[in-house]
Symmetry: D2
Subunit: 297 residues, 4 copies
Amino acid sequence: MLKRPIKGVIPPILTPFKDNGDVDFEAHIFNIERWNETQLAGYLVLGSNGEAPYLSETEKLELIECTAKHANKDRLILAGTGMESARETIALTNKAADRGADAALVLTPSYYFNNMTDEAQIRFFTEVADQTSIPILIYNVPAFTHINISVDVVGFLSRHPNIIGMKDSTGNIPQLVKFQQVSDENFNLILGTFSSWYPALTLGISAGIFAVANCAANECSTVQEAFEAGDHKTALEIYRRVFPVNEAVTTTFGIAGLKYACGLMGYRGGTVRRPLLPLDDREKMAIEKILQTAKLI
Amino acid sequence: MLKRPIKGVIPPILTPFKDNGDVDFEAHIFNIERWNETQLAGYLVLGSNGEAPYLSETEKLELIECTAKHANKDRLILAGTGMESARETIALTNKAADRGADAALVLTPSYYFNNMTDEAQIRFFTEVADQTSIPILIYNVPAFTHINISVDVVGFLSRHPNIIGMKDSTGNIPQLVKFQQVSDENFNLILGTFSSWYPALTLGISAGIFAVANCAANECSTVQEAFEAGDHKTALEIYRRVFPVNEAVTTTFGIAGLKYACGLMGYRGGTVRRPLLPLDDREKMAIEKILQTAKLI
Amino acid sequence: MLKRPIKGVIPPILTPFKDNGDVDFEAHIFNIERWNETQLAGYLVLGSNGEAPYLSETEKLELIECTAKHANKDRLILAGTGMESARETIALTNKAADRGADAALVLTPSYYFNNMTDEAQIRFFTEVADQTSIPILIYNVPAFTHINISVDVVGFLSRHPNIIGMKDSTGNIPQLVKFQQVSDENFNLILGTFSSWYPALTLGISAGIFAVANCAANECSTVQEAFEAGDHKTALEIYRRVFPVNEAVTTTFGIAGLKYACGLMGYRGGTVRRPLLPLDDREKMAIEKILQTAKLI
Amino acid sequence: MLKRPIKGVIPPILTPFKDNGDVDFEAHIFNIERWNETQLAGYLVLGSNGEAPYLSETEKLELIECTAKHANKDRLILAGTGMESARETIALTNKAADRGADAALVLTPSYYFNNMTDEAQIRFFTEVADQTSIPILIYNVPAFTHINISVDVVGFLSRHPNIIGMKDSTGNIPQLVKFQQVSDENFNLILGTFSSWYPALTLGISAGIFAVANCAANECSTVQEAFEAGDHKTALEIYRRVFPVNEAVTTTFGIAGLKYACGLMGYRGGTVRRPLLPLDDREKMAIEKILQTAKLI
């Protein structure tokens, strides 16, 4: 059985909030319609950058439905549905499917850290994939989970018919090569951080889910387009130019920074939910300057 | 305003599941009635050892209600209500209060690891404590959250009128001394691991929330009782004897081990939810032997 | 064969340097004569606080000889002789013995981190202990080596006739209890940080090697004396009072802080070798204030 | 002032030992003469793979002299001379210069971990570079030192006239891009692990110091040669083929594995010094199979 190939750039879309903290669906639709005009290949709702851990189940399902409804028809709709238990993950994934998700991104469970052995991960993902009505992708993000999925586990799970890929957010290139060497040929290895985008392309990776694609969608896509056209110079130039923007809206300033940058780029960013903190003026000016240097504004 | 003093041993009670994975409320009531006959000072529902991250909100609230209903009237009912966002934590805590919780244990938020600064923790706990109808306790458990709350944050938050204490599960004695030195005098510093129980008592700590208290309730209480009676020898002897049991039902075998040990001690342990794995026969025999060596069976 | 019991407080003595960076032997003798008037049980030359990694072999051997010559005859002379290879450690230990060391403190090797398995540690310490003319003690200090020796390794090595003890600098009390439970009864478990001194005494530990003993020798000794006389109140009071001083001269300000504090207490501290940095005025004032609060000056 | 550009592949050459543990200079000369016939650009004596931490100063200086004497005249002679203190590093570097080293590789100091701030690193390297008669390169290898040099420090030090480059052994590609963005244009950024060789070349890196170059010298060089000739396919094919060999002789089996692989490739590997352990038969067979799969034997 061939797995659906995933290609291109997908943003883990931000979730805009009103001043009272409620989800701002109007702003959300505004953003989607704007992203619809770019070269993006799809949307990831409820990724880390969507503040998924801060949303209620009701909010999550409404966001999926709203996104699926307003997205261009050619866009792939991914939804983050990872919960700590298999039982809860299966339940949420199947509800997400009913609301329009094409596939689900499932976090490696991590809470009982010492018990999250290779065996535990394999049985968890197998059980989830066996019982969900849409395909799943593994989501490996040790910066948040403190779990780095092992090469052996990826090799094994890549052969499950309903596990179609993995988003790897480590940016660890040698590890990515190892994942390639053990995975099923139809398994979609998706880069989860723009910081390794150009090098990953040179290694044959063809999809990326990048926070910075929220605010610099076409730049992210053009790196790939230029690379595939053999124009390494352009690809490398844009990669280096956007690199500091990515750094700013992830590591340095986090989601509050991403939302502010999106605001500067014409999207509706809005505030963040506690415990995340809003930016102060100095931080806002720093982001503005980084966008200017990168010639995005 | 004086904060309610907490004294004695409290188990983070396990959540029994049926073979089909549903919560086994009948078994739960059986266990509570058995714990009611011990010297325990209260019950923590929805702690880490209760597999709280694996439960739905509905299950959580039913467990609180059921526990409050069947517990001896002198028992303190604590409920773990920490969610990643302040908004969700406040909502769940107030629902827990309605179902009978006396106070709530709130995890340090941890998902966006790099952003969880001292300032973020202070604002999170302040916002939660300001808006909850019952007092809260901080829950510091870096083994699961990878966040170790700072001494400065504890000093600051210990003065909030609605933050009445902290469960510190690190077992880090020098850090505990620092927490004591900066905290408000009415702040309840509760030890969160039996592994430091006797040393903590010598430093003036007077309450503990211990996984091993699920299966060795009176032994945990007697360490304190003997210590307070000036009988250091007995206190130290029981502490050393139970120490390996604690190790087995936490670090070595985790919750599956705790449930099996509880079963051997006459409680109804039941199975664990995925991704946790059940014990194999070799592991079961190891636990049995450890309980025998500790003269618990 | 009975191993020599070690009891009391021993400072890892600082190494004074002149302004030109040379070892200041005159200052060193001055300090020793002053420590000779205290209740200290011995001296550790070439410990971490002696800046051992920054000294040449010639300097190391001269420091041992000078210390042995000027120390009170009842003092135990320990020397830090751990090198990364067994070959170099054996050579240095035997030279140290010739210069007057009674026993040697040997660091867990750590450089090739991934290869430093339990088996590697066991073979290393066995080979060293088999070929040295004086007994050795294991030196466990993960803060510097990033290796935390395993309980199993300690249990095994504690039975070697020429390995008479271990300095454990973790301050990890639960781990200390485990070391006690597996070690040979004649093995000297020595606490390597004042931060756990009183709790360790309540668990039967009877020796400590503490940086802060350089500048607060009698206070460290009196904690033990009071504890052994059954005066827990005094022991605990001094422990809590000196605790922040220990924190200042280790974690917060490091060796430069320790040397400055020693200067304030009438010893000759001197400067530190690069890459360590000297204190600035703000840091000096902070230390002075901490010593005043602790009533040391 | 232009800094000497470094280009090509350099092995951190292994140090062969006789069965009695002494350095086997005859074997060393044999190896050098064999490497002289390859395309290697130079030799690093006393790197981590040369077991430098296990050698006496006398052995170190003799190895430098022997290597310089027997190396082809076009080879660059690098020597690892990093000690924990600036004083000892300067002394050893200048002796290394007298014995024939062209430049020195200096480890980031690491022992007093908490004190190794950016400021401490900057002052250390500046002081060393100011006082050495040959240029130095920074050696960043967190796997051994647990210190990862900061981007800011590299940016600053790259402008010192006597600091001509850095060996970065992290294999962290996003970090490498940041190092490129802040460094002086004449600063030599050298990749320190084969695991990122092809991606690093695509980013403009032109030199590598690789353990696996001890046993697969020409393959390492050919990746670069093919890449520079525009033959990405060949470059990528060899990179992927040698990748598992590199993994085996570094992460999996360490220096003992490297020496065994070298032996299979016709070099004289010899044994390792304690605490490193020799391979068992199963491990030897695993390496043999990996070399066969990679078509090296």
